[in-house]
Symmetry: none
Subunit: 232 residues, 2 copies
């Protein structure tokens, strides 16, 4: 259960990078060091990280560009930027991309440790929702979220659209429990406003239509909170 947290460290200054890597390793983290944005993104795709620490100023691909690419793959990946300058626009740019924190070089290593700890702690929760599982059985249905196939008993499968698919998966991951509206909106729609919310309602209706083949499966609403996939 207590395996080490994996951190991707992207830093072009080799001296500083290696020192920092070793310091973090001593503090019980698994570190992968990349020396520029290109390499950083390759390694990001290759391994599964809990946190990325990115230097902002790097040749070939700067930290912001890399951050954008990372967020495209995984919106919830926690990011810490390291930077020599602390220009207002840069700081704002970082937060806009979704930085969890920002450290100006030279920084104190203990402060970095605390920030890492704090960020990993609060992100533990959302990690629960990221699952590689893609085959699900519930009541008389079989659902493959990779193929986006939903099958009832011996019927042919029906194909689900990407949004239907993600929504059903989230409901299943919370089965018999509340799936907060807001969670689906921020995860699937990436925005939480009146229109995305209504769009989600439309998808709930579509899923209900698919699921009504089975009287033991229902999607209930909890007013103002979210939905609940009930399986008898």
């Amino acid at each position: 259960m207590n395996d080490k947290k994996r951190i991707l460290l992207v830093e072009d200054d080799p001296n500083f990078g290696i020192i920092l890597r070793d310091f973090l390793k001593m503090n019980d983290y698994d570190i992968v060091l990349a020396k520029n944005g290109m390499e950083g993104f390759e390694k990001f795709k290759k391994y599964d990280f809990h946190l990325c620490i990115l230097d902002v100023m790097m040749p070939y691909k700067d930290g912001f560009t890399l951050a954008g690419e990372i967020k495209e793959v995984n919106q919830d990946m926690p990011l810490i930027f390291l930077t020599a300058k602390s220009l207002k626009e840069d700081v704002l740019k970082g937060y806009k991309i979704g930085a969890d924190d920002y450290l100006k070089k030279p920084f104190d290593s203990d402060v970095l440790l605390y920030k890492i700890k704090a960020i990993l702690k609060r992100n533990k929760l959302s990690a629960v929702l990221d699952t590689e599982e893609f085959e699900f059985k519930f009541s008389s249905f079989e659902f493959n979220s990779k193929l986006r196939h939903l099958k009832f008993k011996d019927n042919n499968h029906v194909k689900l659209s990407p949004k239907e698919n993600m929504l059903l998966k989230m409901l299943i991951l919370h089965k018999n429990d509340l799936m907060p509206r807001e969670l689906a909106l921020t995860r699937i729609w990436r925005d939480d406003n009146y229109f995305t919310s209504r769009s989600m309602d439309v998808y709930i209706a579509k899923l209900r239509k698919q699921l009504e083949l089975d009287p033991n499966v229902k999607i209930n609403n909890i007013h103002g909170e979210g939905f609940r996939l009930v399986i008898d």
Copy 2:
């Protein structure tokens, strides 16, 4: 659903405090300003906040001491410290207490806004997932405050409205003991006046109707003080 986020701002410099309060108000937050740690804690207990912004250096009670008291009442209250100095020990002390962020004066107001937004965003989600107790049994009832379900013996559950739900939860947390009127009003209604008080009475009546299935459970009034959930 879209009510403003409430922020407690504790800042001893009146000029700065008022400017900051107005700036945040303009950005659609509900701000309560306190001018020292004492007042800050009083107001913290009285209202229900989503975030506290604390100046570190204040007379009578400094920001760290106040933070400790706040965390004692609510471990998950997000905190941002404001400070003129950026001594390493201070920063670390702040993170140890559980600061979510740290801003060195003078700070850029846009950066503050981004930090507030980021902190509130992640706290909204984790609040749903957190380990807070939500299943209760008392006499012949089972109560799930996450799903807002109240079940009597083998009957089907009845659904509770958000206010019924919160009120019942508060009564249970004080079972066989006084639940002060004022506490429910400030926590649930977020205001204490004639009308909210009458509204609360209406909800007490609604709960009584739900609970009358079980003769061993009663909600008693303590005149002028509050209510008591009595379980034989």
